[in-house]
Symmetry: C2
């Protein structure tokens, strides 16, 4: 009789989940909504790109969500008792770096900085650092091409170094007040295990490898000479970061007495290494070689693993290929779409000015349409393209409108566009030798929208399987905790064993319908023509700069 | 003290306007809404392409609108009396051909045919004859290229021969019951002047030249050999049509006693040759060489005139170049956009599901945006492209969407797209030596939407002047009647004299704002790149078939 807890830090809330290690049964869960900002996100009405979070919310949410989940577990499961909890795993959004002082305290916790967004957590979807990301990319391509070869030859504005450098550029006081910077996924395990010195935080390979250009090939983080070329301040910061990052076979530490009391748990239970939500979601889905896990929500993340005994080529456009990042012993591959649910939300809320219920109505209506019937085709780039073009300066496109094109037709075209975007990722994996035998989906959309899931099956040609758990990230964290605890304590010796027992698929699944697949093969070909022409892949004509010219005009016109 | 009446047959209603010939003052006007069908149009819910009108509505509307307008004139103008009316002019939609029997009676008036849409007037916007139009185009390009050289090398499904041939193909009974076919613009003057034999109808050069391939160069209508190649039935029909068409310097006849009594007007007053609404609208605006008249409504018509003492080259994409069609002594040039107001209507009603008032709200909001600020760009092809591409199988396109693109931004992008479409026409005129010194607008949009008009000025670089009269078509018909009556009767000797007295401009005008023009020059360049790539002008890449492939799939999928 052993249980673990998975704590999943999302964009608007944190969830704690209590799991029976024997069978993966989820016996108690509680969601805490972050109190600060707009649904937990500090925004700037004057700058759509800014997105921050207050670290105080993380700590308050940790305590409340775990305590409440434990209560519910006790109600739901007669055999449950807090003493039977053997470990805690943590997953978070990322790259979400936090400036901390020399005692590992986030600057925003200090009264002096508490209202300064630059002193808070720089949330994954903060895009203020576009300029810095561009410069990092350019310098890397020139001086250290290997640094960006594993992340699509493009360093993103969403990532660690770009954000920190942007902080230096816009708010040097905060930059200099920060002793170090810690990813949220490393910060929470450090808090639970009582690390007081940033140098002692055990950093996860997931954040380090995918966002901070960490790699064994070049002995860790980017070298100082390179960072000095960006800014000597970044070079100096390197000394206060870390030399080594760890996969999930390590643990972050043991639960302190202080937090054991706060949470109502035994002192000294293991704290797993933290990782990003989607990566632990893959664990919660039961990932293995051949399986692509699609986490479908406002955006998507599409992950695969390939044994690290094989040689994996750098894959153009894939956001990251990191040894050990998802599953120890495997290269973790991460791809994704910058906006999926967000596009539908935009259409319903901003274009149609509809209520939430309009999603349901339009889904019902679009179910009555056949593929291709509307004559509409869209590109799913309203938030740029993460994979395979790795270009945030791309925009949406809708083509084929008549004077009769309806809301439901446009909605379906947007759904199909995201399905084609998903297919482009799967095709890219296969093209570079990553086996794709199964696609397993998780996340809100996969749970709720059967019409969409069928379109995805038809448009990709893959059966869309759905993960059994509706909260795979938290479950994955609980699995990681069970492995960190080890079999002697009632956990597991390794991930395959733990996933076999603790994860699974739903009975409901979506198989491709052959006649729809045929039509979608034609439409996908057309989609890829738009994709390649407007995405700069087809070089024969010069449409590739088209959207950038528009954006340049837009920015120029938006200035004063 | 003399007055004329202009009768303007629109898509949903007919308007009669009583005008003081001395100064163009409009002293009485009355609108009669057609009772049949949906707002006067017989439609087929199963076929968006079908649009017919019942000829009985034309006769009922003629009587009522004229009688009521006369009453109002008497109320408004103390000096007015019906005896002072010296002539009637008529303008109508077109090409709107009507099958008639050997006594000039429309078939649909016969009880036997009255509910058969094929026996009614085939309204200008009927698109059921796409296939026939394509075959006429193909045969002409092969056998008689001169026939289509003056109408953009494409014969339209909206036009005379395509419609008649389609009738033969789908309803041979109606075709064979018809002794002849008459354009609505020729039918009404024939009714008023008592023509009982179709051979005696004085056909206007406007409908003949722009829609029926009539030209002096080849001695009238297409030759019999050509028509026989389409169908021997069409060859035989040619003998029952006409050999000669007339410009507005001729008259159609004199008002019969029967209709004088019905209308309450003096018997024997002159009936002007009928013409299309927009062409007589040009007269109502006061057209002359150098002026382009833009009639702006659901779609637009853009007309110019060039002295027939000059040589006018065939202009690719211009819908028609016809000697005498607008103004006697001048080539009349006709271009147009397939949808303008209809696109805004689609967006508001179909996409936003908004009320009519939403137009006003979005117009107010879009006024606050600067050119290019939204990053959006659209193609105005939701109903195909009439000029300069002459291709109905083109569709809309919207590019540049983000997750924040608002209703007002999209609305503005659609307005801008139509402005760029308007500019493409002006540029084409200039490119082929047609002088464009002034642009004068008329129609509902020009009257009502100052924000849109300013965008048009900025996007085209031309001052947008506005015609003084809000009903230029009816006014133009009244001017034509004044010229047909002649100066001895209180009318005028010629059109320049009549237009100088009877037409004018509003004080309000829209001058281009230099800084906006600069931005729009950039955006227009981008618009033309989309235009040329998706419209098949740029041959370097093969995007030109893109929309057709989508439409083909759509049609295939829409079949069963």
């Amino acid at each position: 009789m052993a249980y673990t807890i998975g704590v999943d830090y999302g964009t608007n809330s944190v969830r704690a989940l209590v799991v029976d290690t024997n069978n993966g049964k989820e016996v108690g869960t509680y969601v805490f909504n972050y109190p600060h900002g707009h649904q937990g996100v500090i925004i700037d009405p004057k700058d759509h790109n800014l997105a921050r979070q207050h670290p105080a919310d993380y700590l308050a949410g940790l305590e409340t969500s775990v305590r409440e989940a434990l209560k519910l577990a006790a109600q739901n499961d007669a055999q449950f008792a807090p003493e039977n909890v053997i470990g805690i795993g943590v997953d978070t959004t990322g790259s979400s770096p936090i400036p901390v002082d020399a005692n590992c305290v986030p600057l925003a916790i200090h009264p002096h900085h508490k209202n300064n967004p630059n002193a808070m957590c720089w949330l994954w979807k903060d895009h203020t650092s576009v300029e810095e990301a561009g410069k990092i990319t350019d310098l890397a391509l020139e001086q250290r091409p290997q640094y960006v070869a594993k992340c699509g030859n493009t360093y993103s504005s969403e990532w660690f170094w770009a954000k920190i450098w942007h902080c230096l550029n816009v708010d040097p006081k905060v930059f200099h007040a920060a002793y170090s910077w810690v990813e949220l996924s490393d910060y929470i395990p450090a808090v639970l295990s009582g690390v007081k010195n940033p140098a002692n935080i055990k950093r996860g390979i997931c954040a380090a490898g995918h966002k901070a250009l960490y790699c064994d090939e070049w002995n860790g983080l980017p070298d100082k000479e390179f960072l000095n070329m960006l800014s000597p301040e970044l070079g100096r910061l390197r000394d206060r970061l870390y030399d080594k990052a760890y996969d999930l076979n390590e643990s972050a530490g043991l639960l302190t007495k202080e937090w054991a009391v706060k949470l109502g748990l035994p002192e000294g239970i293991v704290i797993a290494i933290g990782a990003f939500d989607v990566h632990l979601g893959c664990i919660g889905v039961g990932i293995k070689e051949g399986v692509v896990v699609k986490a479908m929500g406002t955006s998507t993340c599409d992950c695969g693993v390939v044994s690290n005994t094989k040689k994996v080529a750098d894959i153009p456009g894939i956001c990251g290929i990191v040894n050990g990042s998802i599953l120890p012993g495997f290269y973790g591959l991460e791809a994704g779409q910058s906006a999926v649910g967000d596009i539908f939300k935009w259409f319903v809320e901003v274009v149609c000015k509809g209520q939430d219920s309009l999603h349901g109505e339009l889904t019902k209506e679009m179910a009555a349409l056949k593929p291709g019937q509307s004559g509409l085709l869209a590109l799913d780039w309203n938030n740029g393209n993460r994979t395979v073009l790795v270009d945030q300066r791309l925009t949406g496109l809708l083509i084929g409108q008549t004077l009769h094109s309806s809301q439901a037709e446009i909605y379906r075209a947007l759904v199909e566009a995201t399905a084609f975007g998903a297919r482009a990722i799967l095709e890219r994996f296969k093209e570079y030798g990553v086996p794709v035998t199964d696609v397993v989906c998780c996340g809100g959309i996969a749970e709720k929208n059967a019409v969409l899931m069928q379109i995805y099956a038809d448009a990709t040609g893959y059966e869309m399987k759905v993960s059994r758990s509706p909260q795979t990230c938290a479950l994955g964290s609980a699995v990681a905790a069970a492995v960190a605890a080890g079999s002697a304590k009632g956990g597991y010796a390794d991930f395959p064993a733990a996933m076999a027992k603790m994860t699974g698929l739903k009975d409901v699944t979506y198989k491709p319908i052959a006649e729809n697949v045929d039509i979608y093969n034609e439409l996908y070909f057309l989609y890829m023509r738009l994709h390649d022409n407007f995405g700069g892949v087809t070089k024969g004509d010069d449409l590739s700069l088209f959207m950038k010219q528009l954006i340049n005009i837009k920015q120029r016109q938006s200035k004063d």
